[in-house]
Symmetry: C2
Subunit: 210 residues, 2 copies
DNA sequence: GTCTATACAGTGATAGAC
DNA sequence: GTCTATCACTGTATAGAC
């Protein structure tokens, strides 16, 4: 885990920092920012409160640090598979769809999304950081993929950016909002949504002669 | 405003209750649940803290009351227009799209969405109430519209529920998430997204012979 | 850096006078 | 119903010893 070492070195050097960030992450997600006390964070981390303050400048800075670390973690999940260019359009879109849905319906992703949306009003920079680390990154990947397919005459499309947003939006459908609100989502419905979105997209944009 | 009168009568009878709910709504949205104190609510409402407690059983109950009232308010925005059946498929979907986007991108809707998502982990019932009052209501309306169109041989569709989710998801695209995260959304991009979603939907599902 | 101990304002909630 | 005054407790943040 070289990342841990780097982070620790950057900030001054021991595993306690990770303990504190882990504890803070758990409590911020479980209880929300406002209801989480620095006492509780210190207790869960197994350190004293003064140690918490030695590692970060107050509660807001700690919250920002937690969010940035989590964003960096989910980023890895958000890149679309690298082998899609070797596939035909339909199976490639299926792969992208599966990868995307796995990423955004993962419990950790949903928890982070809730936390960021919850506090984005009070921490304006947070929304942008999260967007660019997660959904914005996937969107950009899909846009690039669509541009390549357009260059190869596989699809007929003017605005790849808009089409990519439309595709990812159709994949989310109603179910992502349901999941973000804590409502149950059946795996069958998710698979059906993915298939319908891919089929519709192909029906609309694929160039007939294959 | 008969609704105000009804609410007041139901709960025991004076404008103070509305003042308290208004103050609580503002502070919960601005500061979040955990960071909002009952003192602050009482001060903004212009009453004493004891009066707040006379009108509701504690902070959680007050939060639930605020959310339910706001959900009821946005519900009115969420019904799709009643005259869509007299229109052809394409203009009807455009109307539905415009109505839907106006509703979900309204600042009040976004603020409520943030507040509900933020606390849905701690108040499990909240997510369901909100969903059924707002996005679930629209979804059901669109499902019924699509079923009528299917009965009239205007569209070829197996699963109207899935298709409706897909349509609304494509309308949201990437922009609704951006807005929920507090990022700027250009009106042009929104209009483009709407047009693309409707065109794609028609291209996929409309029966050719009109 | 880490801990124990503590300062002191602010928290949700209530009692009792009017 | 409404207020003032107050409860017991927790909040963020810091001082000083090791």
């Amino acid at each position: 885990m070289p990342d841990v070492v780097n982070t620790a070195l950057m900030q001054g050097g021991c595993g306690k920092r990770e303990q504190i960030l882990d504890a803070a992450k758990r409590l911020f997600i479980e209880q929300g920012y406002g209801s989480t006390s620095m006492d509780a964070i210190a207790a869960v981390a197994g350190v004293s409160k003064a140690t918490v303050y030695a590692h970060c400048d107050g509660k807001q800075a700690l919250f920002a640090a937690v969010t940035e670390r989590e964003c960096r973690r989910v980023t890895a999940r958000m890149e679309i598979p690298g082998d899609v260019d070797t596939l035909a359009l339909y199976p490639a879109l299926r792969r992208i769809a599966d990868s995307f849905l796995d990423a955004i319906f993962a419990p950790e992703s949903l928890a982070l999304l809730r936390m960021v949306i919850a506090e984005s009003g009070r921490f304006p920079a947070l929304g942008r950081i999260f967007y660019e680390c997660a959904p914005g990154l996937t969107l950009a990947s899909v846009v690039r993929y669509l541009e390549r397919m357009r260059d190869r005459q596989r699809i007929d499309m003017q605005d790849c950016h808009c089409a990519a947003g439309q595709f990812l939006g159709a994949l989310r459908g109603d179910l992502h909002l349901r999941a973000a609100l804590g409502l149950p989502v059946e795996r069958e419905a998710l698979a059906g949504q993915a298939e319908a979105a891919v089929e519709t997209f192909v029906a609309r944009y694929a160039i007939q002669g294959r």
